[in-house]
């Protein structure tokens, strides 16, 4: 579809020429720890995206979700993220082993602002820590501990513009190929397999922990 991917590439000077510089007010709200408001945000957040990269800088971003407050603040500089049942690719974990720097963007349903947290992570199986993260009678087998470098509340324009929390926007989902279709085509399976995968996923989504 794309004719040729060799558009003009900007450097920082070019970027600033287009964008200008951030207001003092914007940079002032960047903290190096969680204050009480950020703690309250996290305590109500059931979903985030976790960005990691490997030692060569190859990036990855993956969704994490659970009951609100599933990311536990151990103190104002430390948060812990339980690992739940997933696809076992361990993309994030393998990156963190290579390169501890991570970036999170945390969401609260209905709230347009998001909380961004950047920090340094490691993976643990400490039994005492894992016990605190029990949900549905299942204790996770791994957790990611993150020491915070930067925290800030990201303004809500992206979510306002996108209408992300608008229930009427959910009619979009019906227009996207189902997970079975995407999976079957990507894997080169016979067309009939898509429905089988969709049914299996419906079953699998009942086992969340």
């Amino acid at each position: 579809m794309l004719v040729k991917n060799d558009f003009r590439r900007l450097d920082e000077a070019g970027l600033r020429e287009r964008l200008g510089h951030p207001d003092q007010a914007t940079t002032d709200k960047i903290l190096d720890h969680l204050d009480r408001n950020c703690l309250a945000f996290l305590a109500h957040s059931p979903f985030l995206c976790l960005a990691t990269s490997d030692g060569d800088g190859n990036a990855d971003c993956s969704p994490r979700g659970d009951y609100p407050g599933f990311v536990r603040a151990l103190d104002e500089k430390t948060i812990v993220l339980p690992d739940r049942l997933g696809n076992k690719l361990a993309d994030s974990f393998r990156n963190i082993l290579d390169n501890g720097h991570v970036g999170l963007v945390c969401f609260v349903p209905g709230m347009t602002e998001t909380l961004r947290i950047n920090g340094t992570a490691y993976v643990t199986d400490d039994p005492g820590l894992l016990a605190m993260l029990e949900q549905d009678h299942v204790t996770p087998s791994l957790a990611t501990v993150i020491t915070i470098d930067e925290v800030y509340l990201h303004c809500g324009r992206a979510l306002v513009r996108s209408g992300l929390w608008d229930p009427e926007m959910q009619d979009l989902a019906a227009e996207v190929p189902s997970s079975g279709t995407i999976w079957a085509e990507a894997s080169g399976y016979a067309p009939g397999v898509a429905q089988v995968i969709d049914d299996a996923m419906t079953g699998a989504y009942k086992t969340l922990y």
């Binding site: 305590a43 407050g69 549905d136 009678h137 009942k206 086992t207």
Partner: protein, 299 residues
């Protein structure tokens, strides 16, 4: 909300329109679901005659699963929580005499029992074990009950030596006990020589026990005519839910009793903290499993 001690708050819950709440008896508890969707059980510790509010008390547990921290840090007057209808797995039964034993936050179901027994003019006494005799929950309310209440703390009546205190069985005395696992376990052990049925326990933590490794088994749900395979890695409750024969569950730790089912065939392996008779036909599928390759249940 009232701060009862450094780490305990009591909370009064009222209906959204101030309507009278369903009645309850001492020993009852309710399910409370927070805005975080976490659900926990709390004993009612207020006055059953007051139908306008329920009172619960919550201990802040830093190293627990988070709901109590949420209550302490974020629940405020005027906010909404969802509460279920009271259930009572710890009712006061008729007895000649009563000995009430509580430790820490375990005072919550015991306090209304003590008040009810005092009103009835019953023969009763209460020993309450606390860490700090200078500040513990419901101090004024306990003091008002008079000298039938002994507060056991190093700086009060001294520590309670359960083994010594309970060594001699007291026929005709019903014991009602609630507290952390180490307390309820110690009471159970100290009462080994007492007649069966004299001890009534409410645990809010699972009984510490060793269970055999999980084995897969099959459950035949007789009424719904469904057979469900329970793999080793899933609880029976979860397997039933996935199979579409959901049984209501709440604590998922074998302490609240809400998921009780009746066993019609096979032999359950009781892993809960409620069952005292190992041959009981009532089982709690959130934690309990099967000793036989298959079970039949009245579901």
């Amino acid at each position: 909300m009232v701060r009862e001690s450094t780490d305990i708050v009591s909370i009064e819950l009222a209906g959204p329109r101030g309507e009278p709440l369903p009645p309850w008896e001492p020993g009852a508890h309710i399910d409370v679901q927070l805005v975080t969707r976490q659900q926990r059980q709390y004993s009612l510790c207020g006055d059953p005659a007051d139908r306008s509010t329920y009172r619960i008390a919550v201990l802040r547990e830093e190293f627990s699963r988070g709901a109590s921290m949420y209550v302490h840090d974020y629940l405020r007057v005027g906010r909404t929580v969802h509460a279920g209808t009271p259930r009572n797995l710890f009712p006061l039964l008729s007895s000649e005499r009563y000995l009430l034993l509580a430790a820490g936050i375990g005072i919550t179901p015991i306090l209304p029992m003590a008040r009810a027994l005092a009103e009835r003019g019953a023969h009763w006494s209460l020993n309450y074990a606390v860490r700090d005799g200078a500040q513990f929950p419901f101090q004024a309310e306990l003091d008002a009950l008079g000298d039938r209440v002994t507060v056991n703390a190093p700086d009060r009546a001294g520590r309670l030596d359960l083994a010594q205190f309970l060594a001699e069985p007291r026929p005709g005395t019903a014991v009602y006990c609630c507290g952390p696992a180490r307390f309820t376990d110690a009471v159970e052990e100290a009462m080994a020589a007492w007649p069966r049925g004299g001890l009534h326990l409410e645990r809010f933590e699972p009984k510490i026990g060793v269970t055999r490794p999980n084995e897969p088994f099959t459950v035949r749900c007789v009424r719904s005519e469904v057979t469900v395979d329970v793999p080793a890695e899933l609880s029976m409750l979860k397997a039933l839910e996935i199979a579409g024969v959901a049984v209501p569950g709440s604590c998922l730790r074998g302490v609240c009793g809400s998921c009780a089912v009746t066993v019609l065939g096979g032999e359950p392996e009781h892993r809960d903290s409620l069952t005292s008779d190992e041959h009981s036909a009532t089982m709690y599928p959130c934690v309990s499993r099967s000793l036989t390759p298959s079970l039949e249940i009245d579901v």
